[in-house]
């Protein structure tokens, strides 16, 4: 918006100031509730980073958020605001479950590539219709993806209650997967190199998430398609004038975004729960919005922001345990404030900072 600002101000200072504002307001909320914000912050950090157990959970949550954050970020580069990562992740989880239950897999490394395909294809399929309608019929992708989130949750309820449920069981969930599909836990992986850590849900998917972040970087900044997406997101008329096909870019960006959201299923369904339960996504798709906004849609930023939200989720759970007055809903409040201050109210910080820099230059 203001090209005159130095890069470090744009990429580091303004996001950090926005984040500080969000946490300041969150601190006020804690004060209003009648607890000590500093003590709450200490408990949150100890709970999330104070032990290998806490770190394991923090990184497990962060892995999920890297996938959903990248999903939102990819679409954002093409100028599309995909609020549908939640529903796309639901379908991705379904894809993982269908693959894992299809045959008695002998080993996880045989099942994994097929599961990645399953998650990617169903996640992408759920993003296809909104993308296609946006490109071809001009139906706003924000509205259609919201609608598809609700349709996805109704579909999953139907499938889990009527089709995939174990006969005779009350729980709306699939049968447990065969052990041949269980992804190695981080505990097992680190034991190979002689490191001992607590048993947590953290699994191989964490490394896949880093790989996904790297591949996203390659896609966006090192390929022709990524260049076209960024050009299209920056200025649609200019991109079209340059011969970029808007339909192809919009649909492709949404397909990639949906596939990436679906990858979340690897971490949660295949890596930890070993069955598909009702609403396994539990809002992680929406956290992806906050993560992408905070990470400025850059894969490295997304990874950092995902770790921050991992800390919030794990630390928030421990905090709710130690300070019952601050329930886990505090996490949602902080998430909302981060979206508000880094997204919608961005100019609250940007305009004064830009003014300061202009003044310094002219002085």
């Amino acid at each position: 918006m203001n090209p005159a600002l130095p890069r470090w101000v744009d990429l580091a200072l303004i996001p950090l100031l926005n984040l500080a504002l969000a946490f300041f307001v969150a601190g006020l909320v804690v004060l209003v509730i009648g607890e000590n914000p500093i003590e709450a912050m200490r408990l949150l950090l100890v709970g999330s980073l104070g032990s290998s157990y806490g770190i394991g959970y923090t990184l497990y949550y962060a892995t999920t958020f890297v996938f959903t954050g990248l999903s939102v970020a990819i679409a954002y580069h093409a100028g599309l605001f995909n609020i549908g990562s939640e529903g796309q992740a639901q379908l991705g989880g379904l894809g993982v479950a269908l693959v894992c239950l299809a045959v008695p897999w002998p080993a996880w490394w045989i099942a994994l590539p097929v599961a990645i395909l399953g998650a990617g294809i169903l996640g992408a399929a759920w993003a296809f219709v909104p993308g296609y309608l946006q490109a071809k019929r001009g139906s706003h992708v924000v509205i259609t993806t919201i609608m598809f989130n609700f349709i996805a949750s109704a579909l999953l309820v139907y499938l889990l209650v009527n089709v995939l449920k174990v006969p005779g069981s009350m729980a709306p969930e699939t049968a447990g997967f065969p052990p041949g599909t269980f992804l190695p836990t981080m505990q097992e992986i680190l034991a190979l190199v002689g490191l001992k850590v607590s048993k947590t849900p953290l699994n191989l998917s964490a490394l896949l998430a880093l790989l996904a972040a790297f591949l996203t970087w390659v896609l966006i900044w090192r390929t022709r398609l990524g260049y076209e997406m960024r050009a299209f997101g920056h200025s649609e008329p200019a991109a079209v004038y340059a011969g970029i096909d808007p339909v192809r870019i919009t649909v492709t960006a949404m397909l990639l975004s949906g596939a990436m959201a679906g990858m979340m299923g690897l971490n949660v369904v295949m890596g930890f729960q070993h069955r598909l339960v009702l609403d396994y996504v539990a809002g992680a798709g929406f956290v992806g919005i906050a993560v992408a906004l905070m990470g400025r849609s850059h894969p490295a930023g997304v990874v950092l922001a995902a770790i921050l939200f991992g800390i919030l989720y794990q630390g928030g759970a421990e905090l709710a345990f130690d300070m019952p007055a601050i329930s886990r809903d505090m996490i949602v409040v902080i998430q909302a404030l981060v979206i508000l201050f880094t997204g919608a109210l961005e100019n609250l910080v940007r305009l004064p900072v830009a003014w300061l820099f202009r003044r310094r230059r002219t002085a």
């Binding site: 019929r137 139906s139 706003h140 329930s327 809903d329 100019n347």
Partner: protein, 322 residues
């Protein structure tokens, strides 16, 4: 299905359609002025909580209603600050408002009442009760007209009638007043309004605040009229269904009434009949009924059944040229 059952279903549709209608009209004012509002859900939820909490503490439904409106207007002003004054992204602001309401209502509710996010059960005096119209029972024996009078026209609470009255009122304001003309103009071509010497900022804030008031009434209806207290996440997507209805109605007041009653009917049918057997098609699962408003909206948005064209300047902040 006899007449009695059909009329009961009609009455239920009206009751279930009321919060949708109020929220839908809220969105109509906001979006007609060029401010996208996907935060209807959050504003309703905040209002439902505030209304439930204040009605429980004071014992007055009217105080609850005012508190609900106040809570909703505060969030509306945040949306206005973000999208009008600071020229931020209106969609992101809406998303943030939804989460803010979701988190804060649960957090504060637990903190104030310690009931897992619920507010205490409201006594009858602290609720908007159903009003029986004169002679509703006496006339019930009259064929056809009697049951219609009893089940559909009479026997709702005052907010239902207020919501119905809001439809012609909205139409009149939008199409028969100077404010309405300017409001519609600011959603299509703000530069023209600005050139005419009318403040775009003031008009848009006006629209956003009206949306806040209407969402406030919708939320209060949920916790103090339809139910007797607030539950966590009690809006349960109604704000988004209202948004769907708004698109369905192509941003016009009378069709909005129709769309909201239709979606209310779908909900009423879903509650009353868990699974419906259609001749030739087999059993329609209840989940399909629940998803139907969203599916219909996508179909409408796709332009297969008449094209839904939003206000032209919607979603874009207005920057005065220098």
């Amino acid at each position: 299905m006899d007449l009695e059952a059909i009329l009961q279903l009609a009455g239920a549709s009206l009751r279930l359609g009321t919060p949708l209608l109020l929220a839908c009209l809220a969105g109509l004012f906001s979006e007609r002025a060029g401010i996208f509002d996907i935060g209807l859900e959050g504003k309703m939820l905040a209002a439902a909580f505030a209304a439930g909490a204040f009605a429980a503490v004071t014992g007055s439904a009217w105080v609850g209603l005012l508190a609900g409106i106040a809570a909703s207007v505060v969030l509306a002003l945040v949306h206005g600050l973000a999208s009008i004054t600071l020229k931020g992204n209106q969609l992101i602001s809406g998303v943030a408002i939804n989460f803010l309401a979701s988190g804060l209502t649960a957090l504060i509710g637990q903190n104030w009442f310690g009931m897992g996010g619920q507010t205490p059960q409201l006594r009858p005096g602290a609720r908007f009760l159903d009003l029986a119209w004169p002679l509703a029972d006496a006339l019930a024996a009259v064929p056809v007209a009697g049951p219609i009078y009893r089940h559909v026209i009479s026997g709702h609470n005052i907010l239902v009638y207020a919501a119905l009255a809001a439809v012609p009122l909205t139409w009149w304001v939008l199409y028969r007043t100077r404010f309405g003309l300017r409001l519609r103009a600011v959603g299509e071509n703000p530069a023209a309004v600005d050139t005419a010497g009318v403040s775009v900022v003031r008009l848009r804030y006006g629209a956003v605040v009206i949306a806040g008031v209407l969402c406030g009434i919708a939320g209060a209806y949920l916790s103090t009229a339809m139910a007797a207290g607030f539950n966590r996440e009690m809006t349960a997507g109604k704000g988004f269904i209202a948004l769907a209805a708004l698109i369905f109605a192509k941003w016009r007041p009378w069709p909005a009434l129709g769309a909201c009653l239709l979606f209310g009917l779908l909900e009423a049918v879903g509650i009353r009949y868990q699974a419906i057997t259609l001749p030739g098609l087999g059993v329609v699962p209840v989940q399909f009924m629940q998803a139907l408003p969203y599916i219909l909206t996508v179909v409408i948005l796709a332009g297969f059944v008449g094209k839904a064209i939003p206000p032209k300047a919607g979603g874009r902040p207005y920057a005065k040229e220098r």
